[in-house]
Amino acid sequence: MTKWIIGVIVVVLVAGGAWWFINRQSPAAGPQSNAQTATTTASGTSPSDTSNAALVQDAAAVDAQMSGLSSDSSSVDASMQDKPVTQSY
C-alpha cells in the first residue's frame, strides 16, 4: 500500500514538473518569434520577401531617396555659388 502511495506521489510530481516546464518555455518563445517577424528592410519590406509588391515598394523607396539626392546635390551647388550681402560702413 505504501509503495502505491509513493508511486502516485512520484507520478503527480513528475507530471506537475513537466507542466511547469512547458509553461515556462512558451512565453519566452513569443517575443523571440515577434522579433524575427519584426525585421524589415529600410523600405519597410521583409528582407526575404521577393514578391512583386515588395519589389515595387523597394523600388519606390529607392526613387524617393534618389529624389532627395537631387535636392542635396542642388544644395551643394548653391552653397558653392553663394554671394554675401555687401557690407557698408
Binding site: P47, L55, V56, D63, S75, V76, S79, M80, Q87, S88
Partner: protein
C-alpha cells in the same frame, strides 16, 4: 526802412540760420537738413544714416546665414551613415557659427557710433570665410550620407532581384547583365561617397590665406564631382533595375516613377 537796416537784418538772419538749423537737427538723429550750410549738422545726419544702413545690411547678411545654417544643421543631425565623430564635429561647428552670428547681431544692434560699428561689420565680412567653407562642407556630407542610404536600399533590391532571377525557369541574359552592371554602379557610388567625405573632412577656414583658400576650393570641387558621379551611377543602376523588373513582368511605373516626378 533804411538800406542800412535792411543790410544789417540780412546779415543777422544769415548768421542765425545755421544755429537754428543745428537746434532742429539736434531733436533727432534722423531729422532732415534743409539748410545745407552747417557742416557739423550734415556730417551728423550722414553719420546716422550710415549707421542705420550699415546695421540693416549686417542684419540682413546675419539673418541669411543663420537661416541657411539652421536648415543645414537639421539635415546634418538627420545623417545616419557618415562617421559619428565627423558628424558631431560638423554639427558643433555649425551650431557655434549660429551662436557667434547671434552674438554679433546683438552687438551690432547695440552699437551707436560708426567707429565701433565699423569693427563689428568687418567681423561680418571676415566670418564669411568660415560660412563659405562650412556650408558646402555640410551640404556635401549630407549628400554623401544620402548616397550611402540609397546604396543600402539598392543592395537590398538587387539581392531580391537576384533571387527572383535565380528562381526563374528561363534565363534572361539581358537581365543578368543588368544586375551585374547595377551592382558595379552601386559599389562605385559608395566609393565616390567615401572619397567625397575624404576630400572635405579635414578642411579648415582659410583666414584670408590665398593658398588655403585655393586648396579648399579645389577639394570642394572634387567632392562635388564625386557626388555627381555617384548620382549618375544610381541613375544607371535604376535603369538596370527597370530592365530586370520588366523581365520579371513587375510593373513599377504606377508607383515609383510617380514618386520621382512628384518629390
Amino acid at each position: 526802412m533804411q538800406p542800412k537796416h535792411l543790410l544789417a537784418g540780412a546779415v543777422i538772419a544769415t548768421l542765425l540760420a545755421p544755429a537754428l538749423a543745428f537746434a532742429q537737427a539736434g531733436a533727432g538723429v534722423n531729422a532732415s537738413v534743409t539748410t545745407g550750410t552747417n557742416g557739423a549738422t550734415v556730417r551728423g545726419t550722414v553719420s546716422a544714416d550710415a549707421i542705420t544702413n550699415a546695421k540693416a545690411r549686417a542684419d540682413q547678411e546675419i539673418d541669411r546665414r543663420t537661416s541657411s545654417l539652421g536648415a543645414l544643421l537639421t539635415r546634418v543631425n538627420a545623417m545616419a551613415r557618415v562617421d559619428a565623430s565627423f558628424k558631431a564635429t560638423l554639427a558643433t561647428t555649425i551650431q557655434n557659427q549660429i551662436t557667434a552670428l547671434s552674438n554679433l547681431k546683438a552687438t551690432i544692434d547695440a552699437d551707436s557710433t560708426l567707429s565701433t560699428l565699423k569693427v563689428e561689420v568687418q567681423s561680418v565680412t571676415k566670418s564669411y570665410r568660415i560660412y563659405a567653407l562650412v556650408m558646402p562642407q555640410a551640404a556635401i556630407s549630407a549628400a554623401a550620407d544620402r548616397v550611402q542610404t540609397i546604396a543600402g536600399l539598392m543592395t537590398t533590391l538587387s539581392g531580391k532581384l537576384s533571387a527572383r532571377l535565380a528562381s526563374s525557369t528561363t534565363v534572361d541574359a539581358a537581365a543578368s547583365a543588368a544586375l551585374t552592371d547595377a551592382n558595379a554602379k552601386i559599389a562605385d557610388a559608395q566609393v565616390q561617397a567615401t572619397a567625397a567625405i575624404g576630400h572635405i573632412s579635414g578642411l579648415q577656414p582659410d583666414n584670408g590665406d590665398k593658398t588655403t583658400m585655393a586648396s579648399n576650393l579645389a577639394a570642394l570641387k572634387l567632392a562635388r564631382a564625386d557626388i555627381r558621379v555617384a548620382q549618375q551611377d544610381f541613375v544607371a543602376a535604376r535603369k538596370d533595375f527597370t530592365t530586370i523588373l520588366n523581365s520579371l513582368h513587375v510593373s513599377v511605373s504606377a508607383t515609383s516613377s510617380a514618386n520621382v516626378q512628384t518629390q
